[in-house]
Structure formats: structure tokens, C-alpha cells
Symmetry: C2
Subunit: 130 residues, 2 copies
Amino acid sequence: MPPPAKIRIDLNSAVPAYRQIVDAVRVLLVEGALPPGSELPSVRRLAMDLGVHFNTVGEAYRELAAEGWLDLRHGRGATVIARGLPAAAPERLQEFRTRLRSLVAQMRAEGVPPARIAAELRSLTESLKS
Amino acid sequence: MPPPAKIRIDLNSAVPAYRQIVDAVRVLLVEGALPPGSELPSVRRLAMDLGVHFNTVGEAYRELAAEGWLDLRHGRGATVIARGLPAAAPERLQEFRTRLRSLVAQMRAEGVPPARIAAELRSLTESLKS
DNA sequence: CTTAGTGTACAGTGTACGTGTACAGTCAAC
DNA sequence: GTTGACTGTACACGTACACTGTACACTAAG
């Protein structure tokens, strides 16, 4: 029961491996695929699966723990814990808006048809209702 | 007539300044705010406005030129040129999808209400029709 | 106690980002 | 044609970051 949550990263990407790991695991956490009580693979195990060094995974786990998602204890592994949503910081919203616009602009610049982009955005909007 | 296109960057952000400049200018280009023939401010001028070194702006301009947006010539400045859309690379779409999901997950993780996120996404979808 | 598992700390290496400085091309004034 | 003020470019440097290797410390099972 613990292995189903598989993540993948792109070692050729410009975005750092540890950040890709943080982002990928956070998606699973937010979407409920990793409910409180779940045990994450050990840093060495996940590192082997992803093809990176275990300290890189450790760095990612520590960041997730700092965000309040994980209970990370020496010698015992990483466990998902319950986490209340923080109060939304309004000034962050502007940054998110900018990043969304940039991402859409990049998609358009690389030739993704606007209709296709719209479909992706609608799909994302739908997934928010769950 | 050339000065209205103002951009802003956040020097405290973790994302590199030259990348913020590339992203911000690309948004203006994609949205048509900088039509072919427009002249961009000189590297030194824009650098002063943004509070960075002119080589940082130069780096951003070179990247935009490499993407086919700018005609950048020694001693003459940077001019927006007409640019056909490249054929969309299907494997890139998967990456964009991942980045969109990551961004939305991060917004949710930081407490932005789902309804608010949905509103932002709808707003973006609308802007694609223009 | 031993052992095999866990996460952690820290130094070393390569790379990326931003800057300072010197250089080279362009154009208008004279 | 020369000058001068503008343009972008090249390159070396300092600093910070991403990743790794290695040694360490904690935990649970035998």
C-alpha cells in the first residue's frame, strides 16, 4: 500500500532536482494522494529511484517538513502529518498571478495552441472542486 | 509612444533577475503590447530602471533574441521583429502541465482559497480569446 | 550488543548569477 | 573624416547555490 505514489523528475531540466522533488510531493499532498499517516520512502530509496544523491532528497524532505507537511525524525523516516492551511498572504497572490501569466505566455511562445492552453486551464479549474 | 511598456521585477525573489526580465518582456510580446517594430529601451536604460547591472539586461535580451523575438544589433539597440510560431513540441506540453499543477498546488498549500485560484484561472482563460 | 536501517552535518566541487571593466559597432553633428 | 555620445559585447571576478562523498548519530529489531 505504500508504493503507489510514484513521482518522476527530469534530470536535464534547468529547475533543481530538489525543487522538482518538493514540487512533485507537494502536488500529491495537496491532492490528497498522501494522507496524514502515510510513510514516505527513505531518502536513500527515493534517491535511487530518481537517480540523484540521497542528500538531495533529504534537502527536499527538510523543506517539506519546514512547510509543515512532514514529521521527519532521525532514524525513523518521514511521515505525513495533518496540517492546517496557513492564512493566505495577500502580497503573495500578486506573485502567483505573475508566474501564471508568465507560464501561459511561455506556452503560447512555444506554439501551444491557445485552445489547448484553455483546455488545460479548464481541466485544472475542474480539479479544484474535488 | 515607446515608453508605456513598463516592467517590474522583484530583486528579493529567488528567481534570477535576468529570468524575470525575460519572462516579463515575453508576456508583453505575446500579448501584443510590443508589436514588431517596437524599440526596447537600451540595456543601460532598462538596467537603471530595474536596479540591476546592464549586463544582466543584456543577458535577458540575448535570450529573447535567441527565441526569435528581437533583432539585437551592436550599437543599434533592440527591435522587436515578426516571429512565426514554432511547431508545438508535444513533449514540452507534459512539462507545462506539470508546472501548472505545481504552481496551483503551491497556491493551495499557502492558503489561497480554491475559489480564488479558480477565478484567476478563468481570468487567464478569458484573456486567451483576444 | 550488534546490526541494518533511518535522517543529519559538513566539506569539497562544479556551475550559475550578478557585477566591473574594457572593448567594438553605429550614427549624428560638425 | 573626425569626434563624441550612444549602442551592445566579451571576459574575468566574487559570491551563492546545487549536488556529491563521507562520516556521523539516532532507532528499532534480532
